[in-house]
Amino acid sequence: MDEPSPKPILEIRNITKNFGGLTALNDVSFDLHPGEILGVIGPNGAGKTTLFDVITGRYRPSGGKVFHKGEDITGLKPHQIVQKGISRSFQLEVLFKNLSVFKHLVMSRHLHTQVGFWGSFFRTPGNRKEEEATEAEALELMRFVGLEVQGDRLGGNLSHGYQKSLGIAMALGPAPEILLLDEPLSALSPKRVTDILDLIRAIRDKGVTVMVIEHNMGALFRICDRVVVLSVGEKIAEGLPEEIKHNQRVIEAYLGGAVRA
């Protein structure tokens, strides 16, 4: 990392997270630069999801700080983090099981709906216009992620692949500047993997900075600008995909992980 990089949009500084006696993350630091796709890889149990949970306010770190554009956002609540323009998807399907896909996306626009309480209570014309705008945005999102045919289906009834797409669309709803994707490719068919990779590129092309957690290195390397490698809660490498591929420590961590698993 010799070349001078632009001012980071997100700085992870010495993040440590303990659960009881277990250390899930140990002194992890790295930067996220505007407009890039950063891959975070590592074997199972490396602490990748915990890292997302710490950044997005689900957990408070035991030590260390997170800065967003120079502002300390450590320990803010999830909804406050979303307001800052940092949004995330989930590894397991966290969905509103009994809501339709369309309603999901209307909900995901929650922050950007300016409807006041009284307006929506009395159904004022302004409120109705506002609601129509929200619905149009929801439709647009549906089209963007390729769910336009699934609009009326319930979240719980979607296939695994569509649930993944819906998860990403939900995270796009708040119109984030930074999007954190937690294993968007896991358990997908090769065709769907390509679709999702294209989608991630399209998201980046809209100006959103993307951080992707993946277990599967090969697919991720096709779209990443840079890669951070975690193993057993520690950062063991950071660099361009080409460098990482040949990094001895990374290979060991993966092989070791595979053997142990």
Binding site: T56, H79, V82, F122, G173
Partner: protein
């Protein structure tokens, strides 16, 4: 087609409202007036309980908070000499204020824990009425709660509330019920209702689309308690005496049974539930001892065979008929 259905529904609801609005023209029997007045009060309490359930948590402090509304309103009228018309809104505010302290400790919990924790704090509040004779009157409760003051509309004689006629009470409670239902329905259709649905479906995901889950849960619980307080205040000034035992968890269970048997998914569910059970009680008056038995069996039957409540029965039947048709074809 859909629009016609909607129109039909609206006409149907209007017809029901007019029919019950004209009820006193057909019968002025104090007995039936009494039955219906209590039924309208139960509908307010039950519908507001269901409103809190839309966000996914069952409150077991709802009935004690109804009692709080009754006590607050009665004490304001008795100790400060306020008119019912002033005491009721004040009691609603007081109850909502106390509800903050009842629900705030419960908020970190969910599911069964929320349910029983809210019971615990509601019960502590209720036991305060038993323990502190001044001002709550102890186990004997409050007696001689003043009736509402007369309504004076220029041009017609003043409408007096008193032991002579139940009709003024009937209309007062009826109007309060209609307004409460209207407001609750509108709330559910509004953005608040949608947020409640999201919170119910996934607390976690709701947070990550920017919903302040705790705040909205609290708002919904407080709105629920406010309507419970309206029910309690009407109850107190109508019956003129309230006791702590009126708001024992037994009543809480009845209210929950009305809601569950009617169906929690649909706005009309609890209304159907209250109607069914109150009228059933009247039908079974000759064998009143067995009423709880019948209630228990209906409840058990509904939980096992119709978990979405009686309101889902027409839907279930048409689905069944459709299946048969398809099988026949």
């Amino acid at each position: 087609m859909k629009r016609r259905n909607l129109l039909g529904k609206k006409v149907g609801i209007a017809a029901v409202i007019v029919a019950f609005g004209l009820l006193p023209v057909f019968t002025q029997s104090p007995y039936w007036m009494h039955v219906f007045i209590l039924m309208w009060i139960y509908i307010i309490v039950t519908a507001s309980l269901r409103f809190t359930i839309t966000m996914g948590e069952w409150s077991f402090a709802h009935v004690p908070l109804m009692g709080m509304g009754g006590y607050a309103s009665a004490l304001l009228a008795m100790k400060l000499g306020l008119s019912f018309w002033v005491a009721l809104p004040l009691a609603v505010l007081i109850t909502a204020f106390i509800a903050v302290f009842v629900y705030l400790p419960c908020l970190p919990t969910t599911g069964t824990f929320f349910f029983f924790a809210s019971y615990a704090f509601g019960e502590v509040m209720r036991l305060c009425w038993v323990r502190f004779k001044n001002p709550f009157g102890g186990p004997a409760g409050l007696l001689f709660i003043p009736a509402p003051g007369p309504i004076r509309i220029p041009g017609i004689p003043a409408i007096e509330f008193g032991p002579l006629s139940k009709i003024p009470y009937y209309y007062t409670v009826f109007v309060f019920m209609l307004l409460s239902l209207l407001i609750l329905y509108r709330l559910e259709q509004s953005r608040l209702g949608r947020i409640a649905e999201a919170v119910k479906e996934s607390n976690l995901l709701a947070q990550f689309v920017g919903i302040r889950v705790w705040r909205y849960k609290m708002v919904i619980l407080l709105i629920g308690s406010a309507f419970a307080a309206i029910g309690g205040s009407l109850y107190a000034h109508y019956t003129t005496l309230i006791m702590p035992v009126d708001f024992y968890w037994g009543l809480g269970i009845y209210i929950i049974i009305y809601t569950v048997v009617g169906g929690t998914r649909h706005f009309g569910g609890p209304i159907v539930g209250v109607f069914l059970f109150v009228l059933l009680r009247e039908l079974l008056r000759p064998i009143v001892m067995y009423v709880p038995l019948v209630y228990g069996l209906i409840l058990a039957g509904t939980l096992v065979f119709l978990p979405e409540g009686l309101i889902s029965l027409p839907e279930k039947i048409s689905a069944w008929a459709m299946k048969k048709k398809i099988a026949a074809a």
